[in-house]
């Protein structure tokens, strides 16, 4: 922060010394005014150039410091996950990733033997893929009906849909928890247990009003002539949807898919409330439960960091390869997951 302040104050002082800022116009003026002035002006512009460069350096310094603070937890997490416990106790200021040669990854192997994280990974993958797939179908169909078809009550329905977005999710969760418990889906042991758990974890979140809205807006941008032309050719609605609308709206669909998958990966509250059988824990809750140590036990922080790193890696990969889509979706929605 200080760097920026410095830069600002130096710029503040500037105008007292000399008023013009454009070097080009200055030399032009100077030529008409004589040689002495020109030399003075040159001095001034030189001074200004120095200030400008200092300002730029200040900005870059500020950004670098902030960027370092922002990524520091990640760096520390990875560095610590590669340490032995005794090494961690000896020096936890050591930020160099590989001091003294390559490290062994025994913490990562230990995560899979000490905890059930492997199983939770698979659980999350199943729930994430299935719920994203079903949710996409529902979203596409709804968005198509709302954007292309004309029917009675359409606008009223859409307004009602948007109105539900104002209500905070906690209000739904209370009754949904009760509904799920009343339906017996919290009974997750025995033969049909996995199916109950699956229904509990997927069904309540299949319809996302915001994604319907997002996709509807995207579909509306596709010219209606395409639809009419397809109708003239005798194409059915579903075929038109599949062959024309979906390819054209693909970027939005990818955004929705990624955000939905990330939501499944990061969800904590609902699984925590409703998953009664530990075998069906999702990754986030599994991670938290695995390391909520009892009072007298010392936490094995390098092991913990290895588990956290494992949970974060898929998110990093998604971030690296699909950043464009995430940022597009987020800047329009402002919601997480």
């Amino acid at each position: 922060m200080d760097e920026l302040k410095n830069e600002v104050t130096t710029q503040d002082v500037d105008p007292e010394v000399s008023v013009p800022t454009e070097p080009q116009t200055q030399t032009g003026d100077a030529l008409t005014q004589g040689v002495m002035h020109e030399r003075d002006m040159k001095k001034e512009t030189k001074k200004q150039d120095v200030m400008k460069i200092l300002g730029k350096i200040g900005v870059y310094l500020f950004l670098s410091v902030m960027a370092f603070i922002v990524v520091f937890p990640f760096l520390w997490m990875i560095a610590t996950s590669l340490k032995h416990l005794s090494e961690y106790y000896d020096s936890n200021l050591d930020l160099v990733l590989f001091p003294g040669g390559p490290r062994d990854f025994h913490n990562f192997a230990e995560v899979f033997t000490e905890t059930d994280l492997g199983r939770y990974f698979i659980n999350t993958l199943i729930v994430g893929v299935a719920s994203t797939f079903m949710s996409l179908i529902i979203t596409v169909l709804s968005a198509f009906a709302l954007s292309r078809l004309k029917f009675k009550g359409q606008n009223a329905f859409f307004a009602g849909l948007l109105a539900t977005m104002m209500i905070p999710g906690e209000l739904f969760t209370i009754t949904n928890y009760k509904t799920v418990a009343d339906l017996g889906w919290t009974n997750q042991f025995g033969d049909g247990g996995w199916f109950n758990a699956f229904l509990t974890l997927t069904l309540p979140f299949l319809v996302s009003v915001f994604y319907i809205y997002l996709l509807k807006q995207n579909f509306m941008q596709i010219p209606n002539e395409l639809y009419l032309a397809a109708k003239v050719d005798g194409t059915t609605d579903l075929k038109y949807l599949w062959k024309v609308m979906i390819p054209l709206a693909l970027p939005t669909l990818i955004s929705i898919t990624i955000l939905k998958m990330m939501g499944a990966w990061n969800t904590y509250m609902w699984p925590k409330l409703t998953t009664t059988n530990q075998d069906f824990y999702l990754i986030t809750i599994g991670l938290r439960e695995a390391f909520s140590s009892a009072d007298n036990q010392q936490p094995d922080i390098p092991l913990q960091m290895a588990a956290v790193t494992l949970v974060s890696i898929p998110l990093f990969l998604v971030f690296i390869f699909l950043r464009k889509y995430i940022m597009r979706g987020v800047s329009r929605s402002g919601i997480k997951g």
Binding site: M1, V8, D14, A67, T139, I167, E170, N176, M327
Partner: protein
């Protein structure tokens, strides 16, 4: 407080509610609606349809079929919960009635009274939530604004920095909460320094500049005492860190869409940079700032997972309880009525704060 609530209860709920409201609502909305949909439609379809011809007919059923899966799920998991939650909140003694399968419901605000008078738990939850909002929202917004302006002023490496600043967004808040906890954690018994295995990263770092180690996470106490503020500081740092990427993204997007002519005009007048910032950048960015502040407040009132991530399920033994924590903790014990009442209180607070925000931003924003 109790007197007011009892008064409200007698005036509005018991007498007035049943006789007037229900009857009036039924007569104005439902009767009219039933009449219109059934009778008018039937008359129309039987007598007028052929006269009007094909022009006015549209395939009404088709759209609804496409919407059917969404509608079924919405009815079960969105529409029904809205009414049911309100109903549970306004039913006296709902939780015990539910457990014995009772059916005789009585409207009332007993649940709200129970929640408000439940003492320290609720008080801690409200105070924590408010304090978190008031501290983290301005802090993160200002920091994000500084970073966004700095980012906007550079050309080379802009994309690189943008990517780095967006990185915390794509994280698991529980997992990274655990990283923050580990950064501050003192392994061992803080009160017996010879038994401490590791002072933790932050304490070691502070030790280098001569600061005594602080027991950041493990102190046992209640809201507002000496053990509270270190925990609160850790939480604020984490929440601000976590909130930055979204705010930077929105603010930078706003900055990039500002018309460059304003800046060129300022340059010709050789306006000092600070004035450019306060007189041009901030006013033109004010809609984005308002948006970021409003969503920040809404998110702040729902703060929950970050606390679980750092302090575990007990939320530091209830010391860092929040409103949402209060609601969710009531559910496994089947205190639905109280949870609903608390959720409605939370909704009311969020609504009120958002309204105030909108009012202020309407006065202050420049469009």
């Amino acid at each position: 407080m109790d007197k007011v609530l009892t008064f409200l209860n007698t005036v509005f709920v018991q007498g007035f509610w049943k006789t007037f409201c229900v009857k009036w609502v039924w007569q104005t909305f439902c009767v009219k609606w039933v009449w219109q949909t059934f009778c008018v439609k039937w008359v129309y379809q039987t007598f007028c349809k052929d006269l009007v011809g094909k022009k006015l007919r549209f395939n009404s059923w088709k759209g609804w079929i496409y919407l059917l899966p969404a509608i079924i799920l919405l009815l079960i998991f969105t529409v029904y919960p809205i009414f049911n939650t309100v109903m549970m909140a306004f039913t006296n003694n709902y939780d015990s009635l539910e457990s014995i399968g009772g059916t005789s419901f009585e409207f009332g605000i007993d649940n709200f009274i129970t929640v408000i008078s439940s003492g320290d738990t609720f008080r801690t939850a409200i105070l924590n939530t408010m304090l978190l909002c008031v501290v983290t929202v301005p802090l993160s917004t200002m920091l994000a604004l500084l970073i966004a302006v700095a980012l906007n002023s550079i050309k080379p490496l802009q994309k690189f920095f943008q990517t780095i600043f967006f990185l915390p967004y794509v994280t698991n808040s529980i997992a990274i909460g655990m990283v923050f906890a580990a950064l501050f954690d003192v392994v061992g018994d803080f009160s017996k320094p010879y038994l401490v295995e590791s002072w933790g990263f932050i304490n070691t770092l502070l030790g280098k500049i001569g600061v005594q180690p602080v027991n950041w996470l493990d102190g046992i106490g209640v809201f507002g005492d000496a053990t509270y503020w270190p925990k609160f500081a850790v939480l604020v740092i984490y929440i601000v860190w976590n909130a930055l990427p979204f705010k930077i993204l929105i603010l930078l997007g706003g900055l990039q869409s500002v018309n460059k002519q304003y800046y060129e005009a300022a340059k010709i007048d050789s306006t000092p940079k600070w004035r450019v910032f306060t007189r041009i950048t901030v006013p033109l960015l004010s809609p984005m700032i308002a948006y970021v502040v409003i969503t920040g407040f809404i998110g702040g009132f729902k703060e929950y997972t970050s606390i679980i991530g750092i302090f575990g399920d007990s939320m530091a033994d209830g010391q860092l309880y929040t409103m949402v924590g209060f609601i969710y903790d009531a559910l496994p014990d089947a205190f639905y009525g109280e949870a609903s009442a608390a959720a409605l209180i939370l909704f009311a607070i969020i609504f009120a704060v958002t309204m105030v925000n909108l009012y202020v931003s309407k006065k202050k924003t420049h469009y």
